[in-house]
Every structure is written in structure tokens, then in C-alpha cells.
Symmetry: C2
Subunit: 146 residues, 2 copies
């Protein structure tokens, strides 16, 4: 086997070469931001194929752990995410995308702009309050199978 040498910590953290380190299940978490507002839209997962497709096509492509398949975000809803920048973190085990979202700008399958539409109420350890007041789309209409 002509296996590649394992990169050093310095190469991973201080180098200028993409050396993605996938986890035990061959996934990387991916934080996706709205390129215009900086808002965090969602957290998805990528395997190597999803990352390579994202780089090659410019469309955010994830791996669905529940459906166990590669998934181009927007392929069903039409709300594609056009990749503007691809960041990687210090130890190269997390991706961050800056994207422009088609349509109403929504990235959450529940119908909100962001998946993070609820926060813990001050002083409570379990009560959530909604921070988005209305849905951008109706998932029953957008997703035919819903």
C-alpha cells in the first residue's frame, strides 16, 4: 500500500492545504451561514463525497444521516444554497459555508429562515421562546411528501 504520510499538527493547524479530518463515521459537521447577514442557518453533515461535490458544483451538498444519502440542499424545495466561501477550522474537522439561498432565503425544513428559531428563556432551564415570529414558507406545500 502506498499510503499517504499522516499530516502533522502544524500542517493541519497552520498549513495552507485542505486536509479534512472526517470522524469515525466518516462525517464532518458543517455550519452554514447566510453570506449577506452572517446568520447561522443550519448545521449539516458532509462525508468526503458531499464535500467534494460542494467544492466542485458550488451548491451546498450534505450527507443525510437519517436518509443515509448525499443530498443537494434545495433539490426538493428549490431553495438551493449557492456557496460563496468554504472555511475550515483549526483542526480541520469542521466546515463552515457562507451561502446565498434561493427563494425566500429559508434553510429550515420547518419553514423558518434559520434552524435556530428558539432560545432558552432567561432564568429557565427548559422553557424555550421563539425568536422567529413567522415561517417563510409552508413546508406542506414546499415538500410534496410532507
Amino acid at each position: 500500500m502506498n499510503e499517504e504520510r499522516k499530516p502533522t499538527v502544524f500542517e493541519i493547524e497552520e498549513g495552507n492545504k485542505l486536509l479534512p479530518r472526517f470522524d469515525l463515521h466518516e462525517f464532518l459537521p458543517c455550519i452554514t451561514l447566510d453570506a449577506d447577514t452572517g446568520e447561522v442557518l443550519m448545521l449539516g453533515y458532509m462525508n468526503r463525497e458531499a464535500l467534494e461535490k460542494t467544492i466542485k458544483t458550488g451548491l451546498a451538498t450534505y450527507y443525510s444521516r437519517s436518509r443515509k444519502k448525499i443530498w443537494v440542499k434545495g433539490e426538493e424545495s428549490g431553495f438551493f444554497q449557492h456557496v460563496k466561501d468554504i472555511f475550515i477550522d483549526d483542526d480541520q474537522d469542521t466546515i463552515l459555508l457562507k451561502v446565498k439561498v434561493d427563494g425566500g432565503g429559508a434553510s429550515c425544513h420547518v419553514g423558518y429562515r434559520s434552524c435556530f428559531y428558539r432560545k432558552l428563556k432567561k432564568g429557565s432551564n427548559e422553557e424555550l421562546e421563539f425568536t422567529e415570529t413567522h415561517k417563510v414558507f409552508d413546508p406542506k406545500i414546499v415538500y410534496k411528501h410532507a
Copy 2:
């Protein structure tokens, strides 16, 4: 066993109760943002104890998968993260914290503000460029064991 009823998808996605869904390894990913700038500082992991401590103490507390222990961010560097808001995503398997960071505002052990200090160069599929031009602190000084 007096086990709790499994929550419904509606309760998880549309409810106002925190029902965190930890993964097979009992972890949740946690995206941490600078509360002032909105900048993504890091991605960490929490187990139930880390999440409960974060809520109770107001200091961002993670689980280190490499060191296999609970870890109050800043306990060594002094750069504690004071939690302003705790968001959870639609399917309640990702946390998002908004924090104020002590000291120089750095959250990356390499010395940068954000762990996401490199991005893929346009047109390349492996060359990274640095987006932060200087380190906020010297890790050799801040981390005594470095």
C-alpha cells in the same frame, strides 16, 4: 422503569420545551458565536452534564472528546465564554451559544479569534488562504503545558 414517553416530532420542532437529543455517543455539537459581532468562534461538543453546567453557571462548558472530560472553556487560558443566549435547532440536536469572551476575545487554541481563520482559495479544491492576519495571543504563553 418509569421511562419518559418519547417526544413527538411536533413537540421537538414546534414546542417550547428543551428536549435535547444527544447522538449515539451522547454528544451534541455546539456552535459558539461572539454575542457582539455574530462571528462564529468555534464548534464544540456537549454531553448532558456539559449542557446542564452551561445553563446553570452561565459559562460555556464543553465535553472534550480527545481528553474525554468536561471542560469549562477558559479554565486554562482565562478566556472564559460568558453565555448570553442558548439556542437550539429544529430537531434539537444542535446547540448554538452567543457568548462574550474574556480577555482578547480569542476562542481558538491556535491563538486566533475564531477557529475558522482559513478558507478555500477561489478556483482551488485544496489551497487554503488565511482570513485572520495575526494571532490575538501566543498559545505558548497562555497554555503553560504547550
